[in-house]
Amino acid sequence: MEEQVTIELAQQGDTAALARLLQEHYPFVLKYLVKITFDPHWAEDLAQETMLKCIHKIKLYNGQSQFSSWLITIATRIHIDHLRRRQRELNWQDQEINLRRIKFHAAHFDNDWPTVLEALGSVSANVRTAIILKHYYGYSLEEIATMMDAPVGTIKSRIHNGITIIRKEMTDHDE
């Protein structure tokens, strides 16, 4: 309820209200982006771009979804745009570097690198995003399709194929 009031004030041009909103949601957006990119540095750039886009588009938020979901939609599309601009998905060498970086973070916190994340790191960014949105954040296929600007069927097959790969990798690892 309180957030709703802040959003309305922000939409009316209240700078302080918008600043509060951005400050509150920045960690959430950053953590989401780290999960889908596996790259903390890139995630930071994308999170900042997401916040800037939010400043420009705040009046377009219609309240049909939660504010955090709206931010996730913006972040997801910015991420997809970045991937497209590179005209290719991160090649395996880039992915390896990213994986090493995030593994370093894990080691820094004295955590083992979970097998499931190893498997998740082996699928493409679009597949990973769809799986995370469905199985971690709990969005429906339709919501994910809107967020990723893709047909529901495509999202469904991405998730299905991704899960098959992850399961196989996990089974191989267990054996």
Partner: protein, 103 residues
């Protein structure tokens, strides 16, 4: 099968939860965010003003060129231009219609 699904889902949740913990976001204070917002709005207004000025300059140039050519050129030349402009589309339209009736 179901257990298997539950297991990987659970591991995914735990793994991603852990991953969230590895990142410690440096969150700027509200005052800093306010400055960013003000700066962004200012640059947006500047960009809009620049684009609008560019649009008006081009529009005025095109209008002036149109007026000059219309007032300075001889009447016959204008008639020929208008005739050519209308004539070619009409000619092609009739030609196409003829083809359809033959078939």
């Amino acid at each position: 099968m179901t257990n298997n699904k539950e297991r990987w889902e659970q591991e995914l949740q735990q793994g991603l939860d852990q991953m969230g913990g590895w990142v410690t976001p440096v969150v700027a204070d509200v005052h800093m965010w306010e400055q960013i917002i003000v700066e962004e709005r200012r640059s947006e207004r500047k960009k809009l003003r620049r684009e609008l000025s560019f649009f008006w300059i081009i529009a005025v140039i095109v209008l002036i060129l149109g007026l000059i050519s219309f007032t300075q050129l001889p009447f016959v030349f204008v008639v020929v231009q208008v005739g050519a402009l209308l004539g070619f589309p009409l000619y092609w339209a009739f030609k196409a219609r003829k083809k359809v009736t033959i078939q």
